[in-house]
């Protein structure tokens, strides 16, 4: 028997590669995932409740502290929204810089994008936390930078770089005939960009933009490492306030997991839905 050994001998024809997740999501509803998380917490609580001491069961502890923890979670969402806003504006500028006709601007934008895209988020966060002063004085006016503002800037940097790439990709995906048509109608380059190309790009940029947002929302917990009192910090404090019982760790962190899951999963489902709707063939 002759074996088809080297790839040169046979040319297997492959189908086009598509990274969309329609099948998974059709098979698994949002409710199922939520159910899974809840059951995980209940299971863990039940397992630790068997240790049989006269202390509040984990579920009761979570219910008791839920308002505080959810406030922390809201703070996380605030940070992520602000970081996204800052990052989107800066990323749009950087993305247009990537497409500039001037070589130096293009090179500088490219270098910035590469640096901020390839550095770990936590490292960038440390960078901003340690190297930005806690307040700036301009003409005797003190502008304070509390730690959470610095953390927001720290998250905005990678968002900026990632969004710049999204902008570049979207603009490149607009057919070149659009540019030529605009030029034929005597639009200036700036007008072409703002009034013709970018409006068409919004639709293409939306799904990846939402992907970045869900990444940022999940990354905001990193701020607890540098001392911003957001959900994870509060979780650790609640754990200490309840006497630091080791069996409380799993339910408390499970609750944090659940909050993020319930927030990010719908966003992810919606992104997949939009991706399918905007799919160009």
């Amino acid at each position: 028997m002759t074996t088809p050994s080297s790839p040169q001998d046979c040319l297997p024809v492959l189908l086009p590669f598509r990274l969309c997740r329609r099948e998974t999501h059709r098979r698994l509803g949002a409710g199922f995932g939520a159910l899974l998380c809840v059951s995980l917490i209940l299971l863990v609580s039940a397992a630790s409740a068997q240790s049989g001491r006269v202390v509040a069961p984990p579920l009761q502890v979570i219910v008791k502290w839920a308002p505080l923890l959810l406030t922390g979670f809201a703070f996380n969402i605030l940070i992520s929204a602000l970081a996204m806003l800052l990052g989107t504006i800066a990323g749009l500028a950087l993305g247009i810089g990537l497409l500039s006709d001037l070589l130096p601007i293009r090179q500088i934008s490219r270098a910035l994008t590469q640096i901020f895209r390839n550095a770990p988020w936590l490292v960038l966060l440390f960078f901003v936390m340690f190297l930005v002063p806690f307040q700036v004085t301009i003409f005797n006016v003190h502008i304070p930078f509390p730690d959470w503002v610095k953390a927001t800037v720290g998250f905005a940097l990678p968002v900026m770089a990632n969004f710049a790439e999204v902008v570049r990709g979207a603009v490149k995906s607009v057919p070149s005939t659009q540019w030529e048509a605009a030029e034929a109608l005597a639009f200036t380059p700036r007008q072409t960009m703002w009034r013709i190309i970018l409006p068409q790009c919004i639709k293409r940029m939306l799904p990846p933009w939402m992907n970045i947002y869900s990444l940022v929302a999940m990354s905001t917990v990193l701020a607890s490492i540098v001392g911003v009192s957001e959900m994870l910090t509060l979780t650790a404090q609640v754990h200490a306030a309840e006497g630091g019982r080791p069996e409380l760790f799993a339910p408390l962190y499970g609750f944090a997991l659940l909050c993020f899951f319930l927030y990010c999963y719908p966003i992810n489902l919606w992104t997949a839905h939009l991706e399918r709707r905007f799919q160009t063939r």
């Binding site: 390839n118 490292v123 190297l131 999940m218 994870l232 760790f249 799993a250 962190y253």
Partner: protein
């Protein structure tokens, strides 16, 4: 031999840029150990996540609904929760429930230490993404190829290992490349549970020597080089696996 330490010592004395790792052997050793730990973490998590991802993609095409559902649930849960919280859940939550032994001094000695938990947690996180990537690669393999394998008497597992997966990997390498780079960057999270990797080592150094700026630059440069190395290796692999006649 001493040219480099001398140069950095002189740089410090003349300009105030204190790259202490390059002339202080104690700091140098800590830095090298940190980079080694980052390498250990990233190589083991990359390998483990690839194996788990391939296994998950195989199970996703299994006839059993229960198995398929559980892999899907795993993917959905791990993709939509922050890796740091996962890490804490594993390290603090699950580790305290596992049985532990006592050391000679009577201290509690857990079954798995923080490095092991970091590897497990980060691998599971990356594996959730890898399952999706492999699955989309497998979907690119035509049904007729699988049918041909079946008619040659391959079992489902053998066909997967010898025919489907090798083809799928070639198709999904660019996406895999992205995810593995991301995984390398995510290993910094191990800092949070005191795994002495690069960030942790440099943080110690800058707390002692008060040279935050210089060590930050070194940190960025280190990760830049590590990511560059990984990308270079993946591109070489991509070229070695290239199928002639497909895709240019």
């Amino acid at each position: 031999m001493d040219a480099i330490p001398d140069w950095f010592q002189r740089l410090y004395e003349s300009t105030g840029f204190n790259f202490s790792v390059f002339y202080d052997p104690y700091d140098w050793n800590r830095y090298v150990d940190g980079v080694k730990m980052t390498l250990i973490l990233s190589v083991s998590t990359i390998l483990l996540s690839l194996i788990l991802g391939a296994a998950g993609a195989l199970i996703q095409s299994s006839p059993s609904r229960l198995l398929r559902g559980s892999v899907n649930a795993f993917v959905v849960v791990f993709r939509n929760t922050p890796p740091l919280v996962q890490l804490f859940f594993f390290y603090f939550g699950l580790a305290t429930m596992l049985p532990a032994t006592e050391s000679a001094t009577g201290m509690r000695e857990p079954l798995l230490n923080n490095v092991a938990w970091a590897i497990i947690s980060l691998s599971l996180f990356a594996a959730a993404f890898n399952v999706e990537i492999f699955r989309s690669g497998i979907e690119a393999v035509p049904k007729t190829t699988v049918e041909a394998a079946e008619s040659l008497g391959y079992t489902r597992f053998k066909a997967y290992c010898h025919i489907v997966l090798p083809l799928a990997i070639r198709v999904c390498l660019p996406a895999l490349n992205n995810n593995l780079v991301n995984l390398l960057k995510t290993t910094t999270l191990a800092y949070a549970i005191a795994v002495p990797e690069t960030l942790y080592a440099l943080k110690q150094i800058w707390s002692e020597s008060q040279n935050v700026m210089e060590m930050m630059i070194l940190l960025l440069a280190t990760y830049g080089i590590l990511v560059g190395l990984l990308v270079w290796l993946m591109h070489r692999w991509e070229r070695a696996m290239h199928i002639r006649g497909y895709n240019r």
